[in-house]
Amino acid sequence: MNKHVLLAAAGLCLICSSAELASLAWAQPAQPQKPSQTEAIWHCSRLPEPVSQGQADEERDDFQLASMVSNMRTLSITLTDLMDVYESKPVLINGRRLNACFMPAEAPLTVKALGALGLNASSMQLQARKSAIVRSHLWLVTDEADMQACIARHYPAVGYLSRETINTAVVPCY
């Protein structure tokens, strides 16, 4: 799908729900999630449990301004955010830099996930190298177990998996 079409779709849908945004992004009708082995499902760091009611209220206020939150306490990331972070542009979530985890360019999941956004994983591998002049917030991983660990470790982070995964640190984004 054309990158500009995706961006335009995201731009026109600033007040949509995250599910609606996701369905626009993938140009697929909303339907029950039963992914095939090679389908890429975007996952995000799970938000921490609020320690008090006051903090929960404060978070709700934040999210009215900055983003959205679901019952699974996932980060809410727009398509524009997603593309920006994988292009190594700074994206802030509650005042913190969003991290992006990715697998090598030849991984089938990478082709599915990043290829669909028109992004080039080869250039990400270059930007993630330690010899880069400016450290990126891109993190290269080698398999799905590594991807889960990366999303959990680099909070707040986004990545992709072949199966819907919900645990204490990782949940689907959309």
């Binding site: 921490p48 292009e87 830099r97 010899s131 450290r135 290269l140 080698t142 959990a152 909070y155």
Partner: protein, 387 residues
């Protein structure tokens, strides 16, 4: 604290600590056509000029830590240990981003002038071909040091442009009090100056993933030798001298995608050092003048048949000359296969063939290398694990 609790604590605070540790063992078998230590050191293989006593089976680790305070501030630490370079703290600096486009760093930092990959998680090599990356003494003038740096980070369409400029003071904080070019100084010599500067520009086309880098490093070093006759037998006892050396080093690199699975890169690094000494007792001998040049050119191909495998081929040419005394040229061919297995394990298998040719131009007495051509080959296996 368990990792889950640590993650939870970090998620609710302004700071975040991120660590990546790689560790493992390397096994090497190295065969030489010449057996003296000088000739073996001259081949730039796994057993060349190791800082620790060379062993065919040796452990290693690299540690990368990054502590973020909000979006603008971070502390970065890079440390490693292996028998080639010994234990080293390669980076420990504070970085502040004034904006997404501009920032500065203070602390132990590197020049960001090369594409050496010792910390990269997808490094296909056990030991890279370029002596500027792997040989402790050759790398020393360009190694990390206490520094102040300013960087820019710009996006223009498909291009990402990053640049950095810095000044380095290796003797500050006691970091490298005896570093003096590639020399190993005797204890009676005192260093009077060690100043370095560096500039580096990196351009990446994010659409084609073609990347270019241009860098310059300059050094200005001085020492005082109160007993020059100990190091230079041609000087009379009691001779004192001031020694000054300046060097410029340039790096140029380009890396591009030949096909979706095949990537190539070509790098060239050129170091030109000019030195002279001022004899404080001039009747002892004429003042010395030395010029040393090193150039390394590496052409590399990296083929990725799948996400878990990388097959690489590298060809190196490394000429070295010292004034009118002698010159030598190293050439090597290396190939490797890296595989990332499940559960964070990885292996790399490498084979290298190295050939060195030494020529004398006039003075046979001051160099220890044997003239002629010598060859050596090495086969290595790395078993690694990353957390």
């Amino acid at each position: 604290m368990g990792s889950g609790l640590l993650q939870a604590a970090q998620a609710q605070s302004d700071w975040q600590l991120q660590n990546t540790l790689q560790t493992g063992v390397d096994a090497w078998r190295v065969e030489h056509s010449a057996f003296d230590k000088t000739s073996r050191d001259n081949m730039y293989l796994a057993d060349s000029e190791t800082r620790w006593t060379y062993r065919p089976l040796s452990p290693w680790y690299t540690l990368q830590s990054q502590l973020d305070w909000g979006p603008h501030d971070q502390v970065v630490l890079l440390a490693r240990a292996n028998q080639v370079t010994g234990a080293s703290l390669d980076q420990l600096y504070y970085s502040h981003a004034i904006s997404p486009y501009l920032g500065f760093r203070a602390g132990v930092a590197d020049f960001r002038s090369t594409w050496c990959r010792e910390y990269d998680l997808d490094n296909p090599w056990i030991r890279e071909s370029d002596p500027f990356c792997t040989n402790y003494r050759i790398k020393q003038p360009f190694a990390s040091a206490p520094a102040l740096q300013v960087y820019v980070n710009l996006d223009w369409g498909d291009y990402q442009v990053q640049g950095i400029a810095g000044i380095f003071r290796p003797r500050a904080l006691g970091y490298a009090p005896r570093e003096f070019g590639t020399a190993l100084l005797p204890p009676h010599v005192s260093i009077t100056q060690n100043h370095k500067q560096g500039l580096s520009l990196n351009v990446l086309n994010k659409a084609s993933s073609t990347e270019w880098r241009l860098s310059w490093m300059g050094l200005d070093q001085g020492l005082f030798d109160p007993q020059a006759s100990l190091s230079f037998p041609e000087y009379a006892a009691g001779t004192q001298l001031n020694y000054r050396q300046k060097a410029d080093t340039f790096f140029a690199g380009v890396s591009w995608q030949l096909s979706p699975r095949l990537r190539s890169r070509l790098t060239h690094m050129h170091n030109d050092l000019k030195a002279h000494c001022e004899l404080l007792t001039p009747q002892a001998a004429p003042a010395c003048v030395t010029r040393v040049g090193k150039k390394s050119t590496v052409l590399e191909l990296n083929y990725q048949p799948g996400a878990a495998d990388t097959v690489s081929l590298a060809v190196l040419k490394f000429p070295f000359s010292q004034s009118q005394v002698y010159k030598k040229t190293n050439q090597s061919v290396s190939t490797s296969w890296r595989r990332d297995w499940d559960k964070h394990w990885f292996t790399a298998l490498q084979w290298s063939l190295s050939r060195a040719t030494v020529f004398y131009n006039d003075d046979f007495s001051t160099v220890s290398y044997l003239p002629g051509t010598i060859t050596a080959w090495a086969t290595g296996l790395r078993l690694g694990y990353k957390w």
